[in-house]
């Protein structure tokens, strides 16, 4: 940083649409495309939709309102927002936890974006519709080629850095206002193509057939819970960061809560409509994850008319979904570190993207490492981050204060007092349940030990880092100043 004065002017979203697309672009990722349709079909179809929808309204919509509102209230990144509520001191380290979880998440998400980039490029070369093409062999060869994986990881992080160097409006906003609509248009065209194929009805029946008994199964609700919380990115610092760039008269609850949670889930629904009709039309079994995107669907494209074009639409859309998420997940760290250090935004972008590239090398080198980190951070790190953010709102700031001072200010919809207990009790209890269930489900495995290490180590690291840095900034001594806001006992 050249001087502290240079950091006083804070960027803002140029348009309302830019903010909305940033929220959707951040939250719509690989999970919406390759996980949601399968989870829906496997968990009772319509019954799952009802469970999922109710949890979205009960948990994700209020939770996102809270996170965006905290960002808007503090107008700071994650560490600054925690300091605004907690006052200076070691507890601000919970903001460091959120930051570290985002960096770790991005370290294994970047290689995954590289996969989608590779398939998008091959779709444009019409590789998948060439004669003699073998999807499984192609994927296995690709995953075994570590140099290629590392190269793609490098290209992805370089591209993300290039977007972020342009800033919030000229970089992030300009990307998402085109990329998100392009993703939706791609899926709509693919849906139309799929629904006009013979046999498409089986795919619709698999996805939307109602098996009411699934509403009585705990597995259905746990799957719906995981999807509602993880797909919407609640409590990862993303909504907080995006919300911190809102303009003076912008609304929080309608755009940041209702539109974001329901809109990003709508893309999962659209993906189900786009993918399963074509999969069933050619007589393949539905799958999830890399198997669905990189094997099943790739087998489909040569079998259907205009399959090469459909492949381009799908993989370019898939790449855009993952890439926009990657850009904004990285922005969480850039915003925070640029505020908290003497580095300029450009220096922060280069330093952080370089760091993520470096610690992402093991995930790029080995798919097993990526899977391990995905499990550990997905089941432990991300819920910990959510607990930190929702916990500080619910139990320190107090939901009533935030509701009155930020949620209902300039709001497009009125949020009543029902919101307070949801933020204070329900969301934290659900996150604790998810972590407990993960421990029970993976008891004694390396994944559980990794998860426990994350849950124990990150708060300690955060506390120590912030205790030392804040003490140094205050001239090397003295007690922490009392927090401006204490209690939260509304």
């Amino acid at each position: 940083m050249t001087s502290n004065d240079a950091k006083t002017a804070r960027a803002e979203w140029g348009t309302r649409f830019g903010f909305l697309m940033a929220m959707i672009g951040a939250m719509v990722g690989a999970g919406n495309i390759w996980r949601f349709p399968y989870v829906m079909g496997e968990n009772g179809g319509g019954a799952f939709v009802l469970a999922f929808l109710s949890l979205l309204f009960v948990l994700a919509v209020p939770g996102l309102m809270a996170e965006v509102a905290l960002g808007r209230y503090s107008q700071k990144g994650v560490i600054g927002a925690f300091r605004e509520v907690l006052g200076p001191g070691g507890l601000v380290g919970f903001g460091v936890v959120v930051l570290l979880v985002n960096v770790a998440l991005m370290s294994y998400y970047s290689p995954l974006i590289g996969w989608t980039l590779y398939y998008a490029v091959h779709s444009m070369l019409f590789s998948f519709t060439a004669s003699g093409f073998e999807p499984a062999t192609f994927m296995n060869d690709f995953f075994a080629n570590s140099a290629l994986m590392i190269g793609l990881h490098t290209v992805v992080m370089g591209s993300i850095a290039a977007v972020l160097l342009l800033g919030i409006r000229r970089g992030v906003e300009r990307l998402v206002v085109y990329a998100v609509p392009a993703l939706v248009i791609s899926l709509v065209i693919m849906t139309i193509r799929g629904l006009t194929l013979d046999g498409a009805a089986e795919g619709i029946a698999f996805t939307f057939g109602i098996q009411w008994e699934y509403l009585t199964y705990s597995d259905t609700w746990i799957a719906a819970l995981g999807q509602a919380l993880f797909s919407t990115g609640l409590g990862w610092g993303i909504a907080l960061t995006v919300g911190s760039y809102l303009r003076e008269y912008d609304d929080v609850p309608l755009g940041g809560g209702v539109f974001t949670a329901i809109g990003e889930s709508s893309i999962g629904i659209l993906a189900a409509l786009a993918i399963f009709p074509v999969v069933f039309a050619v007589g393949l079994e539905p799958d999830a994850g890399a198997g669905l995107a990189f094997v099943s669907l790739v087998q489909v494209f040569p079998e259907i008319p205009l399959g090469g074009i459909v492949a381009i639409l799908f993989f370019v859309g898939f790449f855009l979904a993952t890439f926009t998420s990657g850009v904004i997940i990285t922005e969480v760290g850039v915003t925070t570190l640029a505020e908290e250090t003497r580095l300029s935004r450009n220096q922060t972008v280069l330093g952080l993207c370089g760091t993520i590239w470096l610690i992402g090398l093991p995930s790029a080198y080995s798919v097993d490492t990526l899977d391990y980190l995905d499990f550990v951070f997905g089941n432990w790190g991300l819920p910990l981050a959510t607990l930190a953010i929702i916990g500080v709102i619910g139990w320190v700031m107090g939901p009533e204060r935030l509701r009155l001072l930020a949620v209902n200010r300039n709001a497009g919809i009125f949020v009543g007092r029902w919101w307070n207990p949801v933020i204070k009790f329900v969301v934290p209890a659900v996150m604790l349940f998810i972590m407990g269930y993960s421990a029970y489900d993976s008891f004694g495995t390396p994944e559980m030990y990794g998860g426990v290490a994350v849950v124990v180590a990150l708060p300690i690291i955060g506390y120590v880092v912030m205790s030392v840095t804040e003490q140094r900034e205050r001239g090397g001594g003295g007690q922490s100043e009392p927090a401006d806001v204490t209690g939260g006992d509304d």
């Binding site: 909305l20 179809g45 939307f208 009155l404 001072l405 709001a411 204490t486």
Partner: protein, 105 residues
């Protein structure tokens, strides 16, 4: 394979519940944005709270006079009252009587 009425009904409900609600939220927030821009082209500020939200803010300020955030809350309350009294266009649905009954805290 013909789709059953139940599947078609669920598909329609799902599209309405997700795409319908998302589209409603998008259209509503974009229209509100246009209205705010229009108001701000006419005047330099506008009301920041709906009547119900401002009423709840006032009740909280009066009930929590020693709260660490009460000064900020009072500032935001007064900002809205000033805007309502000094401007002629409102974003929220304020009646003249409601505006006349407001007092700074």
């Amino acid at each position: 394979m013909a789709l059953t009425a139940e599947v078609v009904g669920m598909l329609a409900f799902t599209l309405l519940a997700f795409w319908g609600v998302a589209s409603w939220a998008l259209v509503r927030t974009m229209r509100q944005e246009s209205r705010k821009v229009e108001i701000l082209e006419h005047q330099d500020r506008m009301d920041t709270y709906s009547p119900r939200a401002l009423e709840q803010l006032r009740e909280w300020i009066e009930a929590n006079p020693n709260d660490p955030l009460v000064d900020r809350a009072r500032e935001q309350y007064n900002e809205c009252v000033d805007a309502l009294e000094e401007t002629d266009r409102q974003f929220y649905d304020w009646s003249d009587d409601e505006i006349r009954s407001l007092e700074r805290l």
